[in-house]
């Protein structure tokens, strides 16, 4: 669905590249995470993919359309949720969505349905300039679904939302993905990437350092150990077992079988730890 080959972009039109030799593919139905700190080149890449920035060098195809010469029909296939809410403040929530519905050539979703999906029912007739930041963000997110996109670009979709709303947003993303929507997720939040993405790309200083699934990365970079707390003779004991060594595996089975287990944790690495290990940089 998305194909990027040797992408370069310079804002100053010289060799100071914001994005350098970036190549990757996103398959249909995949949730692909683009993970990196601020200024790493995530937004630049996404803006090129969505036609907001002109392609300077490289080959990019989105939904079968060549980005070099953008065909407006491509926008019928894609949806874009922006990190910064960008709504017409003088128009109500429904008016905003109703207007955007008319800018596509494909069947669009009902504005009220979308408003309900993001939990803004009852607010549809309020001007969006009176909305809180979170409400604006939800409406911007809802708008990105209006044309039933096949490829959905999400830029920090849960930033600034309270945990309950963020969880709802993640559920919506999962649900749409189940319907076959390909998701291109740009974020510096490793938790949402870990929860949602089939594969992630780590980008730092405009270059992709690694692309893999979160599970494979954890296996590759995590320690294969289990921390166990159990009760023996009235005392709480804590032991670490290797999940690879046969002797430790047998001992772990015996502990589980003969004692009350208090806690048990695998020592897999978080995406953030892996990111730091791979790139030598934090995610903020």
């Amino acid at each position: 669905m998305i194909s990027v080959r040797n992408l370069y972009h310079s804002y100053s039109n010289d060799d100071k590249y914001a994005v350098k030799d970036v190549s990757f593919e996103v398959k249909e139905g995949e949730v692909f995470g683009f993970l990196g700190p601020s200024g790493a080149g995530k937004s630049t890449t996404q803006n090129i993919l969505t036609g907001l920035l002109q392609l300077q060098k490289g080959e990019v195809a989105v939904a079968g359309y060549n980005i070099k010469k953008i065909d407006n029909r491509m926008f019928n296939e894609i949806g874009m949720s922006f990190e910064e809410s960008n709504l017409y403040g003088k128009m109500t929530a429904k008016e905003n969505l109703d207007f955007y519905r008319k800018l596509f050539d494909v069947e669009t979703r009902d504005s009220m349905d979308l408003i309900r999906i993001v939990g803004l029912q009852g607010k549809e007739n309020i001007r969006t300039k009176e909305f809180s930041k979170g409400m604006k963000h939800r409406l911007t997110f809802a708008r990105s679904m209006i044309n039933n996109p096949r490829i959905w670009f999400l830029d920090e979709p849960t930033t600034g939302l309270d945990p309950a709303i963020a969880s709802e947003i993640k559920d919506i993303i999962r649900e749409e993905n189940k319907k076959g929507v390909t998701v291109f997720l740009t974020t510096h939040n490793m938790y949402i990437a870990d929860e949602l993405c089939d594969r992630v790309a780590f980008i730092v200083d405009g270059e992709i350092r690694l692309i893999d699934s979160p599970k494979s990365l954890k296996l590759a970079y995590g320690d294969k150990l289990v921390d166990v707390e159990y009760i023996k003779d009235g005392k709480v004991l804590k032991e670490t077992f290797s999940t690879v060594m046969e002797e430790d595996k047998q001992r772990l089975i015996r502990v589980i079988g003969s004692h009350d287990i208090q806690t048990m944790h695998t020592k897999e690495a978080t995406l953030e730890e892996i990111f730091i290990k791979v790139t030598g940089r934090g995610l903020v």
Binding site: L52, N72, E84, Y88, K90, F104
Partner: protein, 371 residues
């Protein structure tokens, strides 16, 4: 359809924003100025205060002569206020002057000293001719002073002056010229300013506001085109331009002007000015950056207004400024027998130039609108 929906949305947003009402408000203020403060014919007469230091018989003869030159042949008894004093006077309105004849010589001189008015004392000279003593302010030109000296004190006889003018050949270049009254004459500059130049500035403001709110980016990822976005903005500017122009023209001119032609010209010139604004806007990220260029452009476009009110100054290069053709076209439209060919030609020119500018702006904005 996308253009129509975008235009409707722009119109709705404009009706909820201040710029639209600023345009309408300015038009209403201009109209009030025209109707309440600008007379149909401006009174160019100046005031002169006279004391007749003459014997009674000569005085009567002099007053009779003035009365015969009065526009309605009547004198008016008025009471003037000078400082704290109330002064009685006879008022005569002549073709180029309002004369106040006072009975108090000192009061006449005080008008020159304190009120900076022209004061004249008329007396008899030793030959029983009339002698005029003018109390001037000192800044009057040599030419004027000489003129008074020659004309009133008979350095050159009236016969000689008349003979000179009789020898001057007057050839009429244009027979039966059409004239606008003073109020109507102000309409073309007002229409040019409100209809076109203000639209240029407000269009830039609309685009920069959209950029600031980020809604341009949201629009850019829809299946609508950049030209539809730009044209919807131009449409709102044209709508406001037509509305404000009608507000100005209808009450002042009534059914006189050729309204269909006015609409054609407003659309063509408005389109040109809007496209010019778009081209300029495409080079800047925000209104602060663009303000200097906008200011210079509007100042240049205002230059032909100076020539409009100063007939003796109209250099050839001024005609190259588009607002010159706008002024002339608006003038032709509101004249009874205006040159419709000129207006249609100018409309076609503005439409063609506007189309070229619009295409260029569209090309630029494809690269820069979302930056």
């Amino acid at each position: 359809m996308k253009l129509w929906h975008s235009f409707k949305k722009e119109l709705k947003l404009a009706s909820k924003g201040m710029y639209f009402y600023i345009e309408v408000g300015v038009a209403v203020v201009m109209l009030l100025v025209l109707l309440l403060f600008v007379p149909k014919e401006l009174d160019g007469r100046h005031d002169e205060y006279l004391y007749l230091d003459l014997p009674q018989g000569a005085k009567e003869l002099y007053l009779e002569k003035i009365r015969s030159e009065d526009l309605d042949g009547q004198e008016e008894s008025v009471t003037l206020k000078q400082g704290g004093r109330m002064i009685s006077a006879r008022k005569f309105v002549l073709e180029d002057v309002r004369l106040y004849v006072l009975e108090d010589r000192e009061a006449v001189i005080r008008y020159a000293e304190e009120e900076r008015e022209v004061a004249v004392v008329v007396a008899l000279d030793p030959d029983d001719g009339l002698a005029y003593t003018y109390y001037l302010q000192g800044y009057e030109s040599e030419k004027l002073r000489n003129l008074y000296l020659i004309f009133y004190n008979k350095v050159v006889s009236m016969e000689e002056i008349e003979a000179f003018f009789d020898d001057v050949e007057v050839r009429t270049l244009e027979g039966n010229p059409q004239m606008l009254n003073d109020r109507e004459n102000l309409l073309p500059p007002f229409l040019t300013f409100n209809g076109s130049l203000m639209g240029l500035f407000i269009l830039a403001a609309y685009v920069f506001l959209d950029k600031q709110e980020g809604v341009v980016k949201a629009y850019a990822v829809t299946a609508a085109s950049v030209w539809q976005y730009l044209m919807s903005k131009v449409g709102v500017i044209l709508f406001a331009s037509v509305l404000t122009s009608i507000i100005l023209v209808a009450p002042v001119m009534g059914t006189g002007p050729n309204y269909p032609l006015l609409l054609v010209f407003l659309a063509a010139s408005g389109f040109f000015a809007s496209a010019l604004g778009l081209v300029l806007t495409s080079f800047y990220r925000d209104i602060e950056q663009a303000f200097g260029a906008l200011y210079i452009l509007i100042m240049v476009l205002i230059l032909p207004n100076i020539a409009y009110f100063t007939p003796s100054w109209e250099p050839a290069w001024l005609k190259a400024i588009p607002s010159h053709a706008m002024l002339e076209s608006f003038k032709e439209i509101i004249l009874d027998r205006g040159d419709m060919g000129y207006v249609l030609g100018a409309s076609a020119g503005f439409l063609a130039a506007g189309a070229v500018l619009f295409l260029f702006a569209n090309h630029r904005f494809k690269k820069t609108l979302t930056l």
